[in-house]
Symmetry: C2
Subunit: 210 residues, 2 copies
């Protein structure tokens, strides 16, 4: 399989963790979001959303959108499970997943920031306020959705919620978000990053890390 | 079941369509996002994300996040299906769903707009540019992901992708997005809105419509 990705993209980071947890090997094909490689015609033909990640399967099938890709991997390689199959438990995990993936990540995306800087004169301080606001709101909601006493977000093994959380926390640390109200999330992160599947997927461990 | 929702919220609109397609009856409990009812302590205890929709099941179980709710309904009330069960087809539909639900909707959310106005002095013209930019980008990507020749986005019956599309198009029309590059999307919309399940879910047909 070939994964088109960018080292610092948190959605790429999610798929790398999932591939590693499933024990699937893949080749990384870097797409430099900063220099705009995602808008090159050849790449946009592969991924009309002009974003990363894109996963190309062995038979040439092209998959886009990190959550759709991970759900596909989970359905076709069931062990270890990344989402419960029982509908109610799955709905609770997906609500937490979406609290990060829909309420936090999209507004802090590089393309949104680029727009805010170019069209609305966003300053460096304004960018920090913007990041901190959405992450703090989102982490508070996420933490409130978790059951008590589990090693990971919803159980004793990491799932899709943990994957999204750990990837988002990379951005939180990078931009200096005050994580003191969220000790539970830091504990989960530390536990996850002690696993090779998470550690190997970290942005700084990618071939295109600058 | 009780659905906490706001008439103009496109995520509430999605869940209303899904409930109607499944033939499930529900009671609407309006949450006025404009006056800030979503931040009232009682409601925030129910939905820590302080957003709509929230679906409370007959037994009191609380579900949040529109896509998680709809996936739950689809798993527990299988007919008519809103997502394919075959993993690859499901991944293609979910990628289209997420092109709307992750790449378009979150940046145009009321809470994001409120922030941009209050903190960054977003003007009325700037707001229109912001809306038009993200919707035009997202609709182009969505249209490129569709197979050719189907009545709805991915087949002959409406699915979760159509639900997200029709709800987002309500916003597109409201804010005057030029839809001339997207004739296929308008055809799907017209076909969907001719069905009672979609028509009854329209914002203007809700008890809290102003």
């Amino acid at each position: 399989m070939k994964l088109y990705s960018y080292w610092r993209s948190t959605t790429s980071y999610r798929v790398r963790i999932a591939l590693n947890l499933k024990g699937l090997s893949y080749e990384t094909s870097p797409v430099n979001l900063v220099t705009g490689e995602q808008r090159a015609p050849d790449y946009a033909a592969l991924n009309p959303g002009k974003g990363v990640p894109t996963l190309v399967l062995e038979d040439g099938t092209v998959l886009t959108q990190s959550l759709a890709i991970i759900e596909y991997l989970d359905a076709t390689v069931p062990e270890p499970p990344l989402l419960p199959t029982e509908p109610l438990m799955r709905a609770h995990v997906q609500a937490a997943v979406q609290t990060i993936a829909l309420d936090v990540h999209p507004v802090n995306n590089l393309k949104v920031l680029t727009y805010l800087k170019a069209q609305m004169g966003l300053t460096a301080d304004g960018q920090l306020d913007w990041f901190h606001h959405w992450m703090t709101e989102g982490f508070a909601a996420y933490q409130a959705l978790l059951p008590k006493g589990t090693a990971f977000s919803f159980g004793e093994t990491p799932d899709l919620a943990d994957i999204c959380l750990v990837a988002q926390l990379y951005n939180a640390h990078r931009w200096g978000v005050d994580m003191s109200p969220f000790p539970r999330l830091l504990e989960i992160e530390e536990r996850a990053l002690s696993l090779a599947a998470f550690n190997d997927a970290r942005p700084e461990n990618q071939p295109d890390a600058a």
